[in-house]
Structures are given as structure tokens and as C-alpha cells.
């Protein structure tokens, strides 16, 4: 990751959403992006030019554009039509963004286009976030691939305490869905985003044959 002073930036042509430029790099603000917040808190995996990324919940393509600055290719999945309009504009400018209009709960709908990836980043506001992550990992994540997850407790239970929701959700992720994950990091995204948890996990693969 590229830091200028204590500011996270990404290298690439600016003017995607009116972001500030610092020394020719695009400021990647933790206040706008949960992924940037995770990096600011010392979490996340180092993005490299070799990475193939599946991005679930791409929304308007703001964070996607920053990820695309770092990696080889981003498969950006977004179900809603209006954010998709914005995402398409971003994808036309950045050739390494593969836009996919589809629902992350139904990976069969984009199975025909997405290859195996090294990293899945998921930011969807759904009650079954862990399950969605596991399902997509099963299809698309390489062995030893990483999963970065931004869990929004308010989408899972509006009433329960976020801490409890986070605990349950991480526990579910660790073994409820036939894919096992080793959770490497968990960081609450305060003060950048309230009631959000950033999780980094590695898919756990059984050492069978050989």
C-alpha cells in the first residue's frame, strides 16, 4: 500500500469522484471507504499488481476504483441498477474492472465470467453476510486465498449489541458453511464507520491426498 505521510493513496488517473490528489496520487479516504478504514487501522492484506480480486457489493465504484489502481483485475459485482450506472462509467475508464450486474447471494449468475481469485472483498448490507462470503469463496477463492469482509451489524440485527453480532458472525464464518476460514484479523472500524467490523480471513484447505 502506498502512504504519503499518514494518508493512504492509490496510483492512477484521478477525477473518478472528485477525490483529492496528493503528489499525483489519489487520496483514498477512510471516511468514505470501509476498506481504506481497515488499512488505516493497520489491517488488511497488501494489494499487489498480481492480485485478482472479486469485489462483492461494488456500489458506485468508489472503492473499486482504488482497488483497481493496485491490482491486476477486479471483478466488481453489484445488484442495484442505479449504482450500476455509476459503476459502468468507472469500468469504462479502467480496463481492469470487470463489471457484473448480479446478486452476491446468487453466484451462479456470474459463474460463467469470474475466474478463480486470490482475494474476495465483500461489503454487502445483508443479514447473512458470512454465508454470502462463504458461498462465494467456495466458488471463486483460490486455495489459501484471502477474504476481507466488512460486516455491518445494523444489517444483521438492528437491536442487538454490535459486539455480540460481530462475535456471532465471525463464529459462523469460521465453520458454519462447509468452508473453513482462519480469521487473521478483526478490527472495529470506529471512528471511521460506526458499528462496522473489518475482518481478514484465510480460507482453510484440508491437506488431503499427495
Amino acid at each position: 500500500m502506498i502512504w504519503i505521510g499518514d494518508q493512504l493513496v492509490s496510483p492512477g488517473p484521478g477525477g473518478v469522484y472528485g477525490e483529492r490528489m496528493i503528489q499525483g496520487c489519489r487520496l483514498w479516504s477512510p471516511a468514505r471507504s470501509k476498506l481504506a478504514a481497515l488499512y488505516h487501522l493497520g489491517g488488511g492484506v497488501e494489494l499487489t499488481a498480481n492480485h485478482r480480486v472479486l469485489y462483492l457489493g461494488a456500489a458506485n465504484g468508489t472503492t473499486v476504483s482504488h482497488v483497481a489502481d493496485y491490482v491486476e483485475v477486479v471483478y466488481a459485482v453489484e445488484p442495484a441498477p442505479l449504482p450500476m450506472q455509476d459503476l459502468l462509467v468507472v469500468a469504462r475508464q479502467r480496463k481492469n474492472i470487470i463489471p457484473i450486474m448480479g446478486d452476491a447471494r446468487l453466484p451462479e449468475a456470474y459463474l460463467s465470467l469470474v475466474e478463480k481469485v486470490d482475494l474476495i472483498y465483500q461489503d454487502v448490507a445483508q443479514p447473512n453476510q458470512a454465508e454470502i462470503a462463504a458461498l462465494n469463496s467456495k466458488y471463486f477463492l483460490e486455495n489459501d486465498g484471502h477474504l476481507m469482509l466488512s460486516i455491518k451489524s445494523r444489517s444483521i440485527d438492528t437491536v442487538a449489541s454490535p459486539k455480540k453480532v460481530f462475535k456471532d458472525e465471525v463464529k459462523k464464518l469460521e465453520g458454519d458453511f462447509g468452508v473453513e476460514f482462519e480469521v487473521l484479523q478483526r478490527k472495529e472500524l470506529d471512528p471511521f464507520h460506526e458499528d462496522h467490523l473489518g475482518v481478514l480471513a484465510r480460507m482453510f484447505v484440508d491437506e488431503e491426498e499427495d
Partner: protein, 325 residues
């Protein structure tokens, strides 16, 4: 053996990926057991067809590929794409070219899915309702400010007894005592007229997009519940119990977190069958109306045409709920 298959075999082994034992029915020659990619089991991908042990690349024309990928996706037959296979079978020269064609193809697919979603979900209706609500609140705020202003120059004026509801208040302020205010009152009146026109447009749009819901609840209420639900599609997927309290968010969450009595109705209160019924029947009417709206929303979304027989039955049920037994 197919020459393509041999080429493919080499390129895979060079990469040195771990071998997965192919599931091959006998009697294939033993040498094939060492094939690293289960060629004979291979599913078609967006860029190539597989049959008879070889793969046949599709011409790299994005429009053709987009159509093919959509068909494959809905058939459930598609295999996970592998760029090395695409290169091996001659679809692309290298990964760069593979990604470039994929990018163009994905753009086309996304554009056509977007087009279809916009037609089916009619987000325009939802935007119209949001505009209507915004204009409503603007007119109210501006009217209040106008009264404030008028009061400042007319010490005898009290808003306690002298402020009539609706637009009449603005006529009351037009007594010439405050000249600068007149133009602003005209502008508010104009905005208020636009609001009425827009409300009619929302109604007729709702009658086209949500014919069954509109017949039961009225165009405006139907449009509002669709907006609260987040779209026509979302409304069609919503249980009746949720439709009943759409628009009563605060009451619902206070109920959930603090155990206050649950709300009986949200937006559907605006329907005359609900607010016009006796207090003690209102909950029942709201429940039945919501139940029928849930069915109507599904007919609207999945069939898209009015169903007079259903509407007649539903209306009878709603009337029945309001009767005192």
C-alpha cells in the same frame, strides 16, 4: 488424440498447478489418467465449447460472447473460466488479450442487464414519489417561514387561531402589508400547483406499473409503499406483515427495542378503507389490505397486468374486515 488437447496438457503442466485426479469412465487409455485438466468432463465456458475431448473457441466478438455467456449462465451449464485454457485453445493470445475481451463482454452484459432491470423495476416511479415528498415538505417549510415573516410586520397576528390549514394560509398573508413577501407567496403557490400535477402523474404512473396494487390502495398509496419497500421488485418479495408497517419505521423499531405496542399501520393508513374505518377495526382492515397488497404486488411484478377477478375478491375481503361483527 486431439492435437489441441496435447497442447493444452503441456501448458498446464508447465504452470505446475497441483493435479486433481480426473474422474474418467473406463475404458479410456491409462495415459489419459495423467491429464491434469479433466478435458473430457469439461463444461462449456463463455469463450469456448468443449466436446469430443477438444475445445472450440468462439470468435472473440463481444456481442456474440455476451449473448453466449447469458445463455450459459441461465442454463446452469457454465464452467468456471480459466484464462490458460482460453490461450491454449486459441481464443486469446495471452492473458492481457483475454482480459480485454472479457472487459468488453462484461460491459455489454452489464449494460443489457441494467436496461432490463430499469424496465422491470421502474425506478422512475420511486424517484417521482421521492420528489413529491420533497416538494411537500418544501412547501410546508416555506409556508411556515412566510407566516413567521408576516408576523414580524403584523404584531396583532397570532398563529394560534388565525392560521388555516393548506394553501389558504398564503391567501391570508396577501393583504398587502408586506410587499416583498408577495412574490415569494406566488412562488410557493406555483410550487404547490406543481405538486398537485406531480401527484396526478404519480397516480397514473402507478396505475401502469402497479395496476393491481393501485386498484386496491389507490395510485399514490401504492406508489408510496413501493418507495418505502425500496422498489417494485422488493415490494413483490415482501411479506404482508412487513407491507402493513411500511412507513412506520420509528414505531416499529421502538416496538422491537423497547417493547412498546407494535404499529398497526404505516403508509397504508392513508388509504380510506383504513383511516375511514372505526378505530377498533382499523388494525384488521390494515392487516387484510396489506395481505391483499402483498399478493397484488406479486401479480404486478411477475405478470404485469391487472387481474379484475382478484381485485374484486380482494376488495370484498377488505370491506369484510371493516364490518363490525
Amino acid at each position: 488424440m486431439n492435437p489441441d488437447a496435447g497442447k493444452h496438457l503441456r501448458s498446464r503442466s508447465e504452470i505446475g498447478k497441483p493435479a486433481s485426479p480426473p474422474v474418467l469412465p473406463l475404458p479410456y487409455p491409462m495415459v489419459l489418467i495423467r491429464v491434469q485438466y479433466p478435458l473430457l468432463d469439461m463444461k462449456p465456458t463463455w469463450f469456448c465449447d468443449a466436446d469430443g475431448g477438444g475445445c472450440h473457441p468462439v470468435a472473440p466478438v463481444p456481442a456474440v460472447l455476451a449473448e453466449r455467456a447469458e445463455e450459459l449462465g441461465s442454463s446452469g451449464m457454465a464452467g468456471l473460466p480459466d484464462w490458460e485454457l482460453a490461450v491454449a485453445c486459441g481464443f486469446a493470445e495471452d492473458r492481457l488479450q483475454y482480459l480485454a475481451v472479457l472487459h468488453e463482454t462484461a460491459l455489454l452484459i452489464a449494460e443489457s442487464r441494467l436496461q432490463r432491470a430499469l424496465e422491470a423495476d421502474s425506478p422512475e416511479l420511486i424517484r417521482m414519489v421521492k420528489m413529491l415528498e420533497e416538494i411537500d415538505s418544501a412547501v410546508n417549510h416555506l409556508s411556515e417561514r412566510a407566516v413567521d415573516w408576516y408576523r414580524a410586520v403584523n404584531p396583532a397576528f397570532s398563529r394560534k387561531s388565525m392560521v388555516p390549514p393548506g394553501r389558504k394560509v398564503r391567501d391570508l398573508l396577501r393583504d398587502g402589508s408586506c410587499e416583498a413577501l408577495q412574490d415569494i407567496l406566488d412562488a410557493i403557490d406555483q410550487l404547490s400547483e406543481r405538486r398537485s400535477a406531480l401527484a396526478k402523474q404519480v397516480s397514473s404512473k402507478a396505475a401502469a406499473v402497479l395496476p393491481n396494487c393501485s386498484a386496491l390502495a389507490g395510485g399514490l398509496v401504492a406508489a408510496r409503499i413501493a418507495t418505502e419497500a425500496g422498489g417494485v421488485r422488493e415490494l413483490a418479495r415482501m411479506p404482508a406483515s412487513a407491507i402493513q408497517v411500511l412507513g412506520a419505521k420509528n414505531a416499529l423499531f421502538t416496538h422491537l427495542s423497547r417493547g412498546t405496542p407494535p404499529p398497526k399501520h404505516g403508509v397504508i393508513y392513508q388509504n380510506s378503507a383504513v383511516h375511514g374505518s372505526r378505530r377498533e377495526r382499523r388494525g384488521s382492515v390494515a392487516r387484510v389490505l396489506a395481505a391483499k397488497l402483498a399478493i397484488a404486488a406479486r401479480i404486478d411484478y411477475f405478470r404485469g397486468v391487472s387481474d379484475p377477478a382478484f381485485i374484486a375478491r380482494a376488495k370484498e375481503a377488505i370491506r369484510g374486515a371493516g364490518r363490525i361483527r
